[in-house]
Amino acid sequence: MTRQVTYKDAINEAIRLEMRLDSSVILIGEDVAGGAGNDHIPGALDAWGGPFGVTKDLVTEFGRERVIDSLLAETGFIGACIGATFAGMRPIAEIMYSDFIGTSLDQILNHAAKLRFTYGGKVSIPMVVRTVTGAGFRAASEHSQMLISIYSHIPGIKVIAPSNAYDAKGLLIAAIRDQNPVIFMEHKRLYMKKVDVPEGSYTIPIGVGDVKRKGKDITIVGVQKMVLTALDAAEQLAKQGIDAEVIDPRSYSPIDIDLICESVVKTGQLLIVDESHPRCSIATDIAGMVADHAFSSLKGPIKTLTGLHTPVPFSPPLEDYFIPSIENVIDYAVKMLRGEKIDQRN
């Protein structure tokens, strides 16, 4: 049965279903159960379940042995999860905000990503690191970053950043069943958004992108929440007679570059919308790959519409300015199709 479910609840369901299916699956992170050490909390429903309540109430069904409130020490628990995979566990670790991954990066960069390779392909590290991305929450510079590109740069890990509840559930189940370390990035401003989601278990293959809107005039690739921005823009562009195709890569390592190239071959125009910083980013990465593979199909220059080369500011008007808007997308698309010069946002 399909019903409307929020992105946050879809993630909760995916974890719950996999924990029921496989007793090796455990969840560990800061406050994932919540309330550890406080006996006065009457029930698990009163505990946090993470700062956004994504993992709320899982502890009721699975107990504190499998839903574990970690210490505030990401290196310690990410490393312990890597080690636990050798003993046959399949841990899901939560890093409360992707911005905190710096505190555990060595374990991900030099160990999770490399153990299989360095030891001759004889082991695998089946673990998932869930973490929260994105600006627009008035959370300032250290709780608002995207950082997808940093992880996608590293061979040996897979990187997923879904844009809706349906994709989130199917991809998270696929990630938990994957034999490799997977970074699963959840956008905090998508948590309350609902779409149709089946009740039962299903998987979406990692590395397969999705055409969210079919069109013929211009290809717009959105990165995570920017898929929604691109879709809103596409509706308005349609009123001006511009038929935009919107693509959601969903996975960033591996990335479905063929899907993007096929679309570019059809439309001849490519705009990539990514709220992250402009340099060494997913946007420049996709632009580079399309230039390599489909340059002759392009009718004009590839454009990237991104956040700025500044940290994410707190001040609300500035933060709103930092994130690419629907109007920005419309402006870029119209100018691209008219062959007009576009000044880089600054």
């Binding site: 090796s24 455990i26 042995e65 574990i68 210490l71 020490a73 990401e74 290196t75 310690g76 628990f77 990410i78 490393g79 312990a80 999860c81 890597i82 080690g83 636990a84 995979t85 050798f86 003993a87 046959g88 566990m89 505190t103 060595d106 374990q107 030099n110 160990h111 153990l115 299989r116 390779f117 360095t118 030891y119 001759g120 392909g121 004889k122 082991v123 695998s124 061979p155 040996g156 897979k158 696929a174 069943r177 994957d178 034999q179 490799n180 998987t203 293959p205 990692i206």
Partner: protein, 323 residues
């Protein structure tokens, strides 16, 4: 029987020593062996500790891992093949000297980051406990590692979540070229675990019998109580940080002092004290070990290098989608 066991231990220590001596000489004429960190001088510590493990216990090491691999009973030929980057090596030649591992003997791996293995060994022990197994993990590292966050975070994790892991700090008095009397903020590494509720002992790592007794006790403690313990094993690297290190930071007096405490010499003397009739065994063992190692080099040298496909297949484990 007792002397027979002691002789077997000495032979294993000698195998580790001869391995490193051969590798040092080899590196002088062939640079293809890459970064080498030998264990010369630390054999009593490594063999005495690792011999106390059960064959299914987990183990992690660092880039100074030759003595650990030998002590775990790894095949010398496959270790040599790894050092030479050959496809027949333990890691198909993709790891090299610094990253020897053997999944068949639960030797999880050798980490290039000094404290990197500390949370990982902890996790293997923790995972085994969750699986209902009584396996423990041995985590070996040098005293330079106590400064890294991973040491503190791994230790805290092990204590908080009662992971049956034995942490062994082989204090060889130098972090690279920096003396431990400069870089340790306590008198020795054990000072760093004193604030925690963890069984901790400091031993003379060059005294095989002391190492054996202390480790046996700690292994039993960890397995029985399902909680961590810590050993600081005092030793000395008689070779440099890596091959080619001129070791100018060591004084002649210091080197002479430690050469007189060479664990192979002292353990041999101890065995002869018990049974003087075995005198001739030692040179026989050395010759046998030397031959074993030179044969391994000769054989591995002609082995193929890994293929480009081997490299690509080692990045991800591919599987059926959704399975």
């Amino acid at each position: 029987m007792f002397v027979k066991e002691m002789l077997a231990n000495w032979k294993l220590m000698s195998l580790s020593r001869e391995f490193d001596l051969y590798v040092k000489e080899f590196a002088k004429r062939d640079e293809s062996v890459g970064y080498l960190h030998t264990s010369i001088g630390q054999e009593a510590s490594s063999v005495g500790i690792i011999q106390q493990l059960r064959s299914d216990d987990w183990m992690t090491s660092t880039y100074r891992n030759h003595s650990h691999g030998v002590a775990r009973g790894l095949d010398i030929y496959r270790m040599v093949a790894e050092l030479l980057g050959r496809r027949t090596g333990y890691c198909k030649g993709l790891g090299g000297s610094m990253h020897i591992a053997d999944q068949e003997t639960n030797f999880i791996g050798s980490m290039g980051i000094v404290a990197g293995g500390i949370p990982i060994a902890t996790g293997a022990a923790w995972g085994s406990k969750m699986k209902g197994s009584d396996q423990i993990a041995l985590c070996l590292f040098g005293e330079g590692a106590v400064h890294q966050g991973a040491f503190h975070e791994g230790l805290e994790f092990a204590i908080k979540f009662k992971a049956p892991v034995l942490f062994v700090c082989e204090n060889n008095l130098y972090a690279e070229s920096t003396a431990s009397n400069y870089h340790l903020l306590h008198e020795s590494a054990i000072g760093y675990v004193e604030p925690f509720d963890i069984k901790a002992i400091k031993i003379d790592g060059n005294d095989y019998e002391a190492v054996e007794a202390a480790t046996k006790e700690c292994v039993e403690y960890v397995r029985k109580n399902k909680k961590p313990a810590f050993i600081e094993s005092m030793t000395y690297k008689l070779s440099g940080q890596y091959e080619g290190d001129a070791e100018t930071y060591k004084s002649a007096e210091e080197i002479a002092y430690w050469k007189a405490r060479d664990p192979l010499i002292s353990y041999k003397a101890r065995i002869l004290e018990i049974d003087p009739t075995v005198e001739t065994k030692f040179s026989d063992f050395e010759r046998e070990n030397q031959l074993h190692i030179s044969d391994a080099f000769e054989k591995a040298f002609n082995d193929p290098f890994p293929t480009i496909d081997d490299m690509h297949h080692a990045v991800y484990l591919e599987q059926e989608v959704g399975s």
